[in-house]
Symmetry: C2
């Protein structure tokens, strides 16, 4: 039985993503994002499901930091969930509810809806959306803003569904494993790395130029401060393509040469199915033909 | 009397930064970071003090987003505070305290200290460090992890000072004003802009190359998702130099040509006093001499 740890508790968007990604695998919640990584590193789980990026809040910094601290893990699949909340109450709670609780990020994403539909409810901060549901069950709050899957875990009344101020807010989740055979390239893939750039003029521009020169489209860049070293950063790059493709392999080798520290974080199919852009001269055949020409030049067969 | 709004409540690191930056100006707290920006935009204040970056947690996303939403404001000064906490208790609280509260970011930065010195204390989440101090006063918690300045506002006992897991954690704060005369260049300046890059291969690399080619050292880059437009980003750049210098003016003009949206966020002295690196050929005289040469070529006087 394959065991997948997910950033819990049960009843959150991460559990929903883990269900989408894990097929028939056995899921179990862990308390923190670092604990999900550690479960895979220690062998307690074969995989872990964690959020990596939200279209409103930006990167999930605990996930980025956990990818750097400790043995390398690689992303093998991703899920993209629309972030639309449900609002749950106890059957015996005041109507309308006097208090409504959730994780601060969730409250931030439904601020407009709450102002319109529950203007009199005092907003309370809970440690997670599911933790807010538990608080409602226990009588601590009257209502909770939660992931839809929470309604399956907690015997609460559904006051509203599809609640979101921004119609297309989304969170992307990763399924992580220990390094091993990679997913096959599909033509719609994402490759992720983290790079430490030297602290000198033009170093980041040089790294990005290695991608741009090979026609590789960057899809995300996040800088994270290196803890204990003020003013220095690591850069997380996501870009189109799969390391099995020559242009990606060639770019990774160049980044490896140019930086003090590079870690491969995975090549896997994109959840949104967007096909990689491919510039003239950057295809697999172009790389093979160019390599063959250089080889022939070296042998004195061509010029 | 010049009025400076700061992201409150009173007794936080932001108040400490505002005191350092405001001289004899009148300070008043506002509830949120967007409210601090709005106070200046509306004319309720002449300036605002907000945090922009922490060396452990990274960028303060509410500050970045507020800089884009609404009329432009510019940073005219910055303060860099070491983040070392004090722990306060009520005189009649249990010893050792059974509960300790703070903002989640503060708790994260003293996790090791709490584990060592208050291992039995349950950790509670408060809306701010100063809010935790109020909770201690009101008997809701036994102890609070706060900014040192909080001890001046709340009649609580100081249990510990200089509390920090990482010795050199720092937060940088900005003093913002409406656009107007800029601070004079000092040779140790920081310029900040936000740029929307086109969503195509190499666009960010091209923007950074404009800086690198002119020998301009990037000190920070943050990507923020554009709300409601999944997969598109704005980039916040901080770099060495002052827009009064030709190499910076030249680079800003190039960025303006290459991007759909650029906003100038200020040129002001760096709090850490680090002198700008200046590559050969990038000095003010070099730019003046090169411009003079091109002008002479245009007139047919030189070749």
């Amino acid at each position: 039985m394959v065991r997948i740890a997910f950033f819990g508790p049960e009843g959150t968007f991460t559990e929903q993503a883990a269900r989408n990604l894990a097929g028939g695998d056995q899921l179990f919640p862990v308390e923190t994002i670092p604990a999900a990584f550690d479960a895979v590193r220690s062998g307690a789980a074969e995989g872990a499901c964690v959020p990596v990026e939200n279209s409103v809040e930006g990167p999930v910094t605990a996930t980025l930091d956990s990818a750097v601290d400790g043995d390398p893990l690689v992303g093998v699949a991703e899920a993209l969930l629309p972030i639309r909340f449900s609002v749950l109450t106890r059957a015996d709670a005041p109507d309308p509810p006097r208090t409504v609780a959730s994780h601060p990020h969730a409250l931030a994403q439904v601020r407009g809806w709450l102002g319109e539909h529950l203007p009199g409810a005092e907003q309370r901060v809970a440690s997670s959306t599911a933790g807010a549901a538990v608080g409602v069950l226990e009588g601590q709050y009257d209502a909770a803003v939660v992931a839809p899957v929470a309604a399956e875990h907690y015997p609460l009344r559904v006051l509203a569904t599809d609640v979101a101020d921004l119609a297309d807010a989304r969170t992307r989740f990763l399924l992580l494993r220990r390094p091993g055979p990679l997913p096959e390239p599909t033509g719609s893939d994402r490759t992720s790395i983290v790079v430490a750039a030297a602290n000198r003029t033009g170093s980041l521009a040089g790294l990005l130029a290695e991608l741009a020169m090979r026609g590789i489209n960057l899809t995300r860049l996040d800088a994270r401060p290196v803890k204990g070293d003020y003013g220095t950063y690591r850069f997380f790059f996501d870009f189109e393509g799969h390391v099995a493709e020559p242009r990606i392999a060639d770019a990774l080798a160049a980044l490896r040469r140019r930086s003090t520290e590079v870690r491969f974080l995975g090549s896997h199919p994109r959840a949104d199915g967007v096909a990689a852009t491919l510039e003239a001269g950057a295809g697999n055949d172009d790389f093979a033909a160019a390599d063959a020409w250089v080889e022939a030049v070296r042998k004195g067969e061509l010029a």
